[in-house]
Symmetry: C2
Subunit: 333 residues, 2 copies
DNA sequence: TTGAAAGCGCTAACAC
DNA sequence: GTGTTAGCGCTTTCAA
């Protein structure tokens, strides 16, 4: 059993509320007794019990981070931003990996709510679960939504302009005279997929071009997803002039599929991605992509969360932070 | 304020301990009342308070995961293993990113202890902090140490045989007639660095070769670290025949440095890494490397933790799980 | 400055 | 099967 403030109080011949005051730096104890108590606590190897403290204070100094795929380098970057900023603000973070699974995501939400987190930062798997959280959480929990245009009453959302991002990418490709572009992305229903597809179409429109439906391919949002989708596309005989992938990891799979067939990038097929994950800039890859300020987004998320917590406005807010995407042109286009 | 079991009890005209029994599936309530209570709980949008429960049960169903660098793809893979297995076992995980910083690591340990985690899984920044945790944690906290040969009383360690891994890699390079090998790794004091260096020397010995000290270069354990270290080595004029990098991320930096100078891999310089992160197998990279079962290691860590928890042996244990490394030969050697 | 008392939301032991 | 009581470790009134 671990040491409690009562144990310390006994040893110091003082009441335990005084020990509490001394340890948490509150006024109401003389400097003398405070020092004495601090010393005894140290000697006894006292570890405060944050659970008990949270229970009475009704705040846990803990936040939940729900991301869909920690293996996609995009998310660790966000996670690091979250973690760094949380650490600065003395918050602990629960890591939840939803695996793009709706049900699992909901389970995590329940868990986090039970653990009485002070707020939730979520990169949602679908639009549906968002209102679900808001409902379950009641009105007193800050929710920060990452990476998508989710306008939900009672939350702050942070994302780049996905439509614009895809559009400038497509315009760049068409400018360079690539034609017959393909879009390889995830299932409809995910905000980023829908928005980027919208930008894909918008970019074409600027050139007076139509998008053909066969050139829009659904895939898992992973390396293998991109690899498989690209192979299917090529098997079908429809060789595109360029491919816009919904994210960089998919783009990597696309590149792998193209190269495995002995085709050259960008001579035979150009490729562009989304996110600008670290490996995109590697020699040997050199992927053209739309950069997102991932680390900063993670930091912002915690900062916004803190702001809500301080102001205690929680659910009355409905703020959308839209960041500017930046096209990074490299050798694959 | 949120709904409590007392609120439910009131509404159901029953005592609140009965509500507790009903909700946690314990015997002592009739099926009838249980159903009734479950229904009311649902209606009132009841969220159990895990903090209160943890306080009385003296267990939090929460574990801490301390890793040094979530941006290195090696660690997300481990984290995913941990997270998946934790999720299966109804455990939540606190993510802590130590950034290879001793002090920060110690802060996290204190935080986790305060939050009364049921156990800690740590990839330590140095050998020193290990005994520190054991001391602070007292005798009743399971500690699982990842990625290094840390024999510490009262813990389970899980790692591949780093010495052997480096040795088979060096033997492979020497077999292929590469000579004048360089080792680029982190600071001494980190178990994996020391052990891999030992294997580096051992491999040479098998060929009756000596290692020259100028060929052992210290670097940050990152892409930039590898990039900088390799450039320094080349600037010095000492062009190695091959480079063994302490990990794949460093190897990527090394590759970048070599290619930026217009040198060819493996014709001019061969490169081998450690870990087998996903991008190592990308066309355009094709890195020869020593594979670690990262995901499995993460899962094992939780499983071992659970086992300690169930047996309540905690600190009396001293178990070392040494896994077999596997050399994956690709085009960089 | 200090102590006494209450209570955060829950579980567990015991009595009925 | 159900209610009563106590208590987990802490903070926070309120008196002294």
């Amino acid at each position: 059993m671990s040491v409690t403030i009562k144990d310390i109080a006994e040893k110091a011949n003082i009441s335990y509320p005084s020990v509490s005051r001394a340890l948490s730096g509150k006024p109401g104890v003389s400097e003398e007794t405070r020092k004495k108590i601090l010393k005894i606590a140290e000697e006894m190897n006292y570890q405060p019990n944050a659970l008990a403290r949270s229970l009475v204070q009704n705040k846990s100094s803990t936040i939940g981070l729900i991301i869909p795929d920690i293996l996609n380098p995009y998310f660790p970057e966000i996670a690091k931003g979250v973690e760094d900023e949380a650490h600065i603000n003395e918050l602990s973070v629960f890591l939840c990996n939803s695996d793009w699974d709706d049900t699992r995501e909901r389970k995590y939400i329940d868990k986090l709510l039970a653990k009485r987190v002070d707020g939730i930062i979520i990169f949602p798997t679908s639009k549906r679960n968002i209102s679900e959280i808001r409902r379950k959480a009641g009105s007193d929990l800050p929710i920060i939504i990452l990476g998508g245009s989710y306008a939900e009453e009672g939350s702050v959302s942070i994302a780049i302009d996905d439509v614009l991002g895809a559009e400038i990418s497509v315009v760049h490709l068409l400018d360079k005279d690539y034609r017959n572009l393909a879009f390889i992305g995830g299932k409809s229903g995910l905000s980023s997929v829908d928005d980027r597809l919208e930008g894909f179409v918008a970019g074409h429109k600027k050139f007076g071009l139509e998008v053909s439906l066969e050139m829009i391919v659904e895939s898992e949002l992973t390396f293998n997803g991109g690899y498989t989708a690209m192979n299917e596309l090529l098997d079908r005989g429809g060789q595109p002039g360029a491919v816009l992938a919904e994210n960089d990891v998919i783009a990597m799979g696309v590149i792998q599929a193209i190269r495995t067939r002995g085709l050259k990038i960008p001579e035979d097929i150009a490729v562009a991605g989304f996110d600008d994950i670290p490996m995109a800039s590697m020699t040997g890859i050199d992927l053209t992509t739309v950069r997102q300020p991932k680390y900063e987004m993670g930091k912002m998320a915690v900062l916004e969360l803190k702001a809500l917590l301080d102001k205690e406005i929680y659910s009355k807010v409905n703020k959308r932070l839209v960041l500017k995407p930046e096209l990074i042109i490299r050798k694959t286009s």
